[in-house]
């Protein structure tokens, strides 16, 4: 973050685009990224809310904008998971300090971060939210992109487990160097592979994400103790195997950490099969998150509800 980045944008202010003259009223700050700040704003044009990201550096932000433009261009609007465009408006603004800053607007994604959501709503939402994230990754992979900077803070979850990825600053085309990453989610950090973008890179990050959600203290302790040359997937798996919450997905995580899933689609399918509790012969133990349910009929009910939800979201 550049130390001189002080656009001084405050709630109640109106931002006007320099080139296209669209007007936005600032509601509040949503968050700060490594290269800019994101605000919730009201579009004067149609009185709807959107998110507005102001960047410290025009070239840096443009890089990000270019990726979002490509994603929008490629994406068809057909299909059950029809999504809105990533990018709404691209422009520059004049800030209170007299300088010009680049900005772009995008759809406002409501929700809490993944960790907050699961704390408030319960870990039983983890399998479904996890599946949604994997499906989003799968879509990107199918179009030749890698998300790159997957981490707890970049997954927002709204009602009923509706998860969305935010902060596309790390999105990289297959085969290129990952543009932006966070150490503990980076497979290079764990000596488990390169920083060249491929689908497996995302799946490794996803596996670390699962570990972070269930065993964040142990993960933190591990990163502090381990010498760089001793970081490995074995060390990560050690945490997984000793974790009650992660036992049901231990096998899946092992495969993700060692790059055994070819892409997000394959990984999502495997995850979904794990959720499918109508195959009890495959499991000798109840998955952790179903432990609260006392009777067999309750299990059947849970399965039907889960299948119903999957049909809604997939």
């Amino acid at each position: 973050m550049t130390t001189s980045f002080k656009p001084n944008i405050r709630p109640g202010m109106t931002i006007t685009g320099k080139w296209k003259h669209a007007r936005y009223r600032v509601e509040r700050l949503l968050g700060e990224g490594s290269n800019g700040k994101v605000y919730l704003v009201l579009q004067e044009r149609d009185r709807s809310y959107c998110a507005l990201k102001v960047g410290a550096d025009a070239v840096d932000l443009q890089s990000e904008i270019n990726v979002l433009k490509l994603l929008d261009k490629e994406q068809g609007r057909r299909g059950a998971l029809a999504q809105d465009a990533f990018l709404l408006d691209v422009d520059d603004l004049y800030a209170l300090d007299g300088r010009e800053y680049p900005f772009y607007t995008m759809k406002y994604v409501r929700g809490s971060t993944l960790s907050d959501y699961l704390k408030q709503q319960g870990m039983e939402w983890f399998p479904l939210v996890g599946l949604t994230v994997l499906n989003k990754l799968a879509e990107l992979h199918e179009r030749g992109w890698v998300f790159g900077d997957l981490k707890v803070e970049n997954v927002l979850v709204a009602d009923y487990g509706y998860a969305q990825l935010v902060d596309f600053g790390g999105v990289t085309a297959n085969g290129k160097g990952i543009r932006q990453f966070t150490e503990i989610y980076d497979r290079g950090y764990w000596n488990c592979g390169t920083r060249t973008a491929d689908a497996k890179y995302d799946l490794f990050s996803y596996a670390v994400l699962c570990i972070h959600l269930h065993e964040s203290k142990r993960l933190k302790a591990l990163t502090k103790e381990l010498l760089p040359q001793n970081r490995s997937e074995t060390e990560l798996m050690r945490i997984v195997l000793e974790s009650e919450g992660l036992k049901p997905v231990a096998g899946w995580i092992g495969k993700a950490l060692s790059g055994k899933f070819e892409n997000g689609r394959e990984a999502a399918e495997a995850w979904r099969r794990l959720m499918h509790t109508s195959e009890p012969s495959k499991q000798t133990k109840l998955p952790g998150w179903l432990k609260g349910l006392a009777t067999v009929s309750a299990i059947v009910l849970a399965t039907s509800v889960a299948l119903l939800l999957y049909n809604v979201f997939i």
């Binding site: 025009a58 270019n66 520059d92 680049p102 160097g177 290079g188 760089p228």
Partner: protein, 242 residues
């Protein structure tokens, strides 16, 4: 082919030609000189901070003061940013010739998008060489493990680029024989098989930052850093030693 020198140090230079002059030499050779000051909490850094900034400014590079925990991230960030900056300067020159205005920010968003797209392509695909110059004075000893990790991490990131990347590693001061710096690792694109970058070092007493920089610049030019060349370069520069 983009060229950078990354100087990692924790104190002021105290012998030989001024490192600021040396950095300016580097810039004139097309080598960007970046500087990272590694200071642990509590260490008095005010004296070194000003010099570090000046060296980077003269060398057309970036400078940062960090503690050893953020060293890896800082090294990578600076290397990447310098690549972008180098390309941006070249692009701005072109823009100035064509449009009379070299500012990318002055372009309307659509034009800007195209220009930045080209810049990103170049950033990713250009060849890159980074020469690391590491201060091994006594106070740096506890920080060397972090430096080694940062170098390995940098190699990993460079390998991910599409363009070919190579690093080489020098330490300074050289040895008891009074050499200003010493080559630990020649130009390489991988660290497989390198168990330890720094051999058992005899931590020197002086900090000949300037002369060490001149040697590294020499290395870029000639592929050697001149025991035999020493007389020649020292001859001219020694007139300016304070």
């Amino acid at each position: 082919m983009m060229k950078q020198i990354l100087l990692i140090t924790d104190g002021c230079s105290n012998v030989g030609v001024s490192p600021v002059v040396a950095a300016a030499h580097g810039k004139s050779e097309g080598i960007a000189v970046n500087v990272v000051g590694v200071l642990d909490d509590g260490e008095a850094g005010e004296l070194g901070a000003a010099e570090i900034e000046e060296i980077a400014r003269a060398g057309g590079g970036l400078s940062r003061m960090v503690n050893r925990n953020t060293l890896s991230q800082t090294v990578q960030m600076m290397t990447r940013k310098t690549v972008v900056q180098t390309i941006q300067l070249a692009v701005q020159k072109e823009l100035k010739q064509v449009l009379g205005n070299g500012s990318i920010e002055a372009l309307p968003p659509e034009r800007r998008g195209e220009v930045v797209r080209v810049m990103d392509e170049l950033s990713e695909s250009s060849g890159l060489r980074v020469a690391l110059l590491i201060d091994v004075s006594a106070s740096m000893k506890p920080k060397l493990a972090a430096v080694e990790e940062a170098i390995r991490d940098l190699m990993l990131s460079l390998q991910a680029r599409q363009g070919g990347s190579e690093i080489c590693v020098f330490h300074f001061p050289g040895s008891r024989n009074g050499e200003d710096c010493m080559l630990d690792l020649g130009w390489t694109d991988h660290l497989a098989g390198v168990s330890s970058i720094f051999p058992k070092l005899q931590m020197g007493g002086t900090t000949p930052t300037g002369p060490a920089l001149m040697k590294v610049i020499d290395f870029y030019r000639h592929g050697t850093y001149g025991k035999h060349r020493r007389d020649e370069t020292d001859g001219m520069m020694s007139d300016y030693v304070v």
